[in-house]
Subunit: 201 residues, 2 copies
Amino acid sequence: MNYPSKIVEETVQQLSKLPGIGKKTALRLTLFMLRQPEELVKPIAESILLLKSQAKVCKKCCNIADEEVCFICANPKREQHVICVVKDVQDVLAIENTHFYTGLYHVLGGVIDPVAGFGPDKINIPQLLQRITQEPITEVIFALNATIEGDTTVHYLAKQIHAIREDIKITTISRGIPVGGELEFVDETTLGRSLQQRISL
Amino acid sequence: MNYPSKIVEETVQQLSKLPGIGKKTALRLTLFMLRQPEELVKPIAESILLLKSQAKVCKKCCNIADEEVCFICANPKREQHVICVVKDVQDVLAIENTHFYTGLYHVLGGVIDPVAGFGPDKINIPQLLQRITQEPITEVIFALNATIEGDTTVHYLAKQIHAIREDIKITTISRGIPVGGELEFVDETTLGRSLQQRISL
C-alpha cells in the first residue's frame, strides 16, 4: 500500500506487530491518533515506554509486580499454605475478580505443549518446585485451561510435586456445565465429565 | 479490576482510549508487550510520539502528508483537472490501490450528518470550493459511502459547486452489485439501483 506519509506508514508497521492487529486496524488506530490532540496521544506512547522499564516479575510467584514481590505475595492476610497454579497473569486477574480465593498464586507463563515443541523447561516450573520445598504449602490448586495441554501440564507437575512432598494435597478446578448454561447446548465431553464428577449434596 | 502493577494499569487505561480496543484487549496487548524484548516495543511508542509532530495535512487536498503538499498533489503526472472527493484518508488509499484513478483528491474529513449534529461547517468544504475557483477543474467525482449521509453531502456540495462554476461535470461512483456478487444475495435497494442505472453495452 502507498501510504500518504512515511511516519503514518511507520506507525502502521509498528502497531501491526501487536497480536490481533492487522494492517487495516493499525491504519484506523493511526488515523484516529492523528485526529486526537497531542495531550491525549502522548500518554499512550509514554505508558508503553515506561512499561518495560517499570514492570517487574514477582520473584516468588512470577506474577507482574511493581516491586520485587507482587502485592498478593506481599499481603500477609492471604492464606500462605495454598498455591493456585495458573498459566498467565490474565488468569490471576480472572480469579481475583471472583473474590472466592484468598491464597497465593504461581504463574507458569505457559503450559507444556509437546506438539508445538513447548517443553517443561520453557515455563516457571523450577520456581514452583522451590516454593514447594521452602514454603509451608499444604495444597496446590491447578487452574489451567481445560485443554489437552492444560491436562498434560497438571499431570506432569502433580508427579513432580508428589516426588518432593507426598503429603501435599493436589486439586484442580472443577469442570462441568457453566453456571446459567443449558444442558442441550453443552458439548458431550463436558456433559460426560460433569456426570462422572458429580457432586453429592 | 485489581491490576498487578500500576504501570500495567496505566498502559491498559491508555490503550483502551483507542477505538475498538476494550479493557480486555488492552490488557492482552500490554502483557504481550511486556513479554517482548525492549528493542521491539520501544519503536512502537516512538512512532506514536513522532506521528503527531511529523505528519502534516496537505494544504491543497487535506490528505495526510509529510510535506506542505501531499505526494499526490505534488505529482505533475496526475491529471490536474479531475478531483475525487472522499470522506477519509483510508478512502484515498482504497482508490489508489485500484490503480484505476490518476486524478487528484479532496479529503472532506467527514460527511454531513444532520442527525448527529455534524453540519457542513465541520468538514473541509471551503478548501474544496476554493480549489473549484482557482484550479483548472473540469470534473468532480464524488466517492462517498452509499449512505443517507453520503448522499446528503453529495447533493449539498453539487449545488455549491454549480453555484460557482456551472460548467463543471459532477459525477459519483456507480452503485450496483459488487463484482463477483450473486444476485440472490444482494439487498433490494442495491439491486433496484443497479436496474435503474443500467449501463448500455
